[in-house]
């Protein structure tokens, strides 16, 4: 006790970043329900919790009941990396309750659980599947009361024996209202699995957690050979390090552009480089990251379209070879294009990489490729997701350059196709113009939140060494239309 209040210890889940969602972990001795449809990962989740916490002194008791046959469960679960066979029957004991349930009533089930718990003194108790137990209601006139009484007795007993309990069950969300198990439970974790077009999206929600401030909302998770990995939707947005933005300007590696930007991009800004295909967006991004690493500012390149080697080959051709920087770990390349990514997963990967090299510059090339790499369900939230991602990165002082391909006709100009200019500090625009029967390129700084910038529209070329920004074109007007007219003398 401290100041008269109970000290609530937490039980770690062993699931990467689920404890963040749970506000630090599950309260010790809590009575929890893990619910979801078949195949949503309930058993895998509870196995991870069991293997994380069971010890010889305080083992785990895992009651299986007519759900997935125990033989098959053991067969498949041992393929996960967290499954440690040396713990079986010593730290983790599996007990099948199927016969007890088939031959007896709920009292018989409770009696068996009580007898095993008293014999073993477990820290963790699992009943999988509890849904099956609940079907064994003998009193047809008042099934709800019988169930409620059973669950309350079970919860009270297991808590008083200092066990943290997990009831695993296949439930539909509609059942929440009338089912007494959800009323009695201290914690309720719901797992979802939805198929959209050709991709599967997995999310979880902590619908209830007594005694902890869990992070509300749906959080993406993935099941790999290592089990579940959760990607909290607020990852990177909370627990900021109190970073203070400096007045520093970051050179882009293109002298003429730095001049237009009044010395470079303000540190910690989010910059969008927009333009049609072939205008040199990736070339500028390469120059930006190269300029950084050569001045001691580590960088992360997030590539969603080209393959990393193609990207590096092009850099080499531009006289900006990056192989040495990669070997020295001043630069890291993230290549993601599995078509079922979530933004939270991508953000996690980027933030981890940024931290691993202490990066100051990040390039996302391109936003269009990033959107394509996402599962269709996440594309709907693309704007919100980008906002979170940019916020998380700039919040720790990273300067981000994002390329965006826009389709421009010769009569209109679009800054970005996503309507996301609100989340950028600066916008650099490329476009083609027709001058003297030639297709030439112009550059302009459309927006710069941090201060004044050149209003010029300048011509530029992509040379063997990258972008070279030339002079303004004072002899022409209506350049941004793409079909300028020569000024009358």
């Amino acid at each position: 006790m401290d100041n008269g209040k109970v000290q609530m210890k937490t039980v770690p889940t062993g699931v990467p970043d689920l404890d963040i969602v749970l506000g630090g972990g599950l309260p010790e001795y809590s009575f929890n329900v893990i619910a979801g449809a078949p195949g949503s990962g309930k058993t895998t989740l509870v196995h991870q919790i069991v293997f994380e916490n069971a010890s010889a002194e305080r083992p785990a008791l895992y009651f299986t009941v007519l759900g997935e046959p125990a033989l098959k469960m053991l067969r498949y679960q041992q393929n996960y990396s967290f499954f440690d066979a040396t713990k079986i029957e010593k730290d983790i004991r599996f007990i099948n309750l199927s016969e007890t349930l088939l031959e007896g009533d709920l009292d018989a089930v409770l009696e068996r659980i009580v007898s095993e718990v008293e014999a073993v003194n477990p820290s963790i108790v699992v009943v999988d599947s509890f849904r099956t137990v609940m079907r064994k209601v003998m009193n047809p006139s008042n099934p709800e009361a019988e169930l409620q009484a059973f669950i309350q007795r079970l919860a009270l007993y297991l808590t008083s024996w200092q066990a943290t309990t997990f009831l695993v069950g296949e439930y539909m969300i509609e059942e929440m209202r009338d089912n007494p198990v959800f009323t009695v439970a201290d914690g309720l974790i719901w797992l979802y699995q939805t198929a959209e077009r050709n991709s599967i999206v997995r999310k979880l929600q902590v619908m209830k957690l007594r005694g902890r401030a869990s992070v509300p909302g749906l959080h993406t998770f993935r099941i790999t050979d290592n089990g579940l990995q959760v990607f909290p939707r607020t990852y990177g947005l909370v627990h900021k390090s109190g970073y203070r933005i400096s007045d520093k300007r970051l050179k882009t590696g293109v002298a003429g552009l730095d001049e237009m930007l009044n010395g470079g991009i303000p540190a910690g800004d989010s910059v969008i480089v927009a333009g049609p295909s072939g205008t040199g967006k990736s070339a500028l991004a390469t120059q930006f990251i190269t300029e950084g690493v050569r001045n001691g500012e580590a960088g992360v390149l997030c590539i969603f379209e080209e393959r990393p080697q193609e990207y590096l080959d092009r850099s080499e051709k531009l006289g900006q070879g990056l192989e040495q920087e990669l070997r020295d770990e001043k630069l890291k390349v993230i290549y993601l294009r599995p078509l079922d990514l979530s933004v939270d997963e991508t953000l996690r990967e980027i933030l981890d990489t940024v931290k691993s090299v202490n990066a100051q510059r990040v390039v996302i090339d391109s936003m269009n490729g990033f959107e394509m790499a996402l599962a269709p369900a996440f594309r709907e939230d693309f704007r919100e997701s980008m906002y979170r991602m940019v916020g998380a990165l700039t919040g720790i002082g990273i300067t981000i350059m994002t390329t965006v391909e826009v389709s421009t006709s010769f009569t209109e100009m679009q800054f970005t196709p996503h309507g996301i200019s609100f989340l950028t500090d600066d916008i650099i625009m490329f476009r083609y113009v027709e001058i003297d029967s030639q297709l030439r390129k112009i550059i302009t700084v459309v927006k710069m939140r941090g201060g004044d910038h050149s209003k010029d529209i300048r011509e530029y070329e992509i040379t063997n060494t990258g972008l070279v920004v030339g002079d303004p074109l004072p002899d022409y007007r209506r350049l941004i239309t793409g079909t300028p007219e020569r000024n009358p003398n």
Partner: protein
């Protein structure tokens, strides 16, 4: 043959706890079927709902002692092989540790295990 019955009873009690009576019965039924290829006399044996062997003593009494032992060993071998097939060597040995004559820790299971 009392010792054989006792061995099967130990296996039944031990394995029914983690994998259930139905799970044990399923494995034993398969093991018995596989064993009848070499020992057709085993066909006379029935398996009860809880996994107990019924009619074993009677069937074995009609065989020579060596045939009876050979048939019994065959069922146990198939049963354990099946368990190993489904859950792997290391886990099988751990599930049987309480009733196995050699302690699991002395078997070098880590080196020999499949997974």
């Amino acid at each position: 043959m009392a010792v054989v019955q006792e061995a099967f009873e130990k296996l039944r009690i031990r394995l029914s706890q983690p994998i259930g009576a139905a799970g044990y019965r399923a494995l034993l039924t398969r093991a018995l079927t596989l064993s009848t290829n070499n020992s057709p006399w085993l066909e006379a044996i029935q398996i009860e709902k809880d996994g107990t062997l019924a009619g074993f003593t009677e069937a074995a009494a009609s065989q020579s002692l060596s045939s009876a032992i050979e048939g019994s060993v065959e069922i146990v071998t198939h049963l354990i092989e099946l368990l190993e097939t489904f859950v792997g060597r290391e886990l099988s040995l751990r599930l049987l540790a309480d009733i196995w004559p050699i302690p699991v820790d002395e078997m070098g299971t880590k080196e020999d295990s499949n997974g």
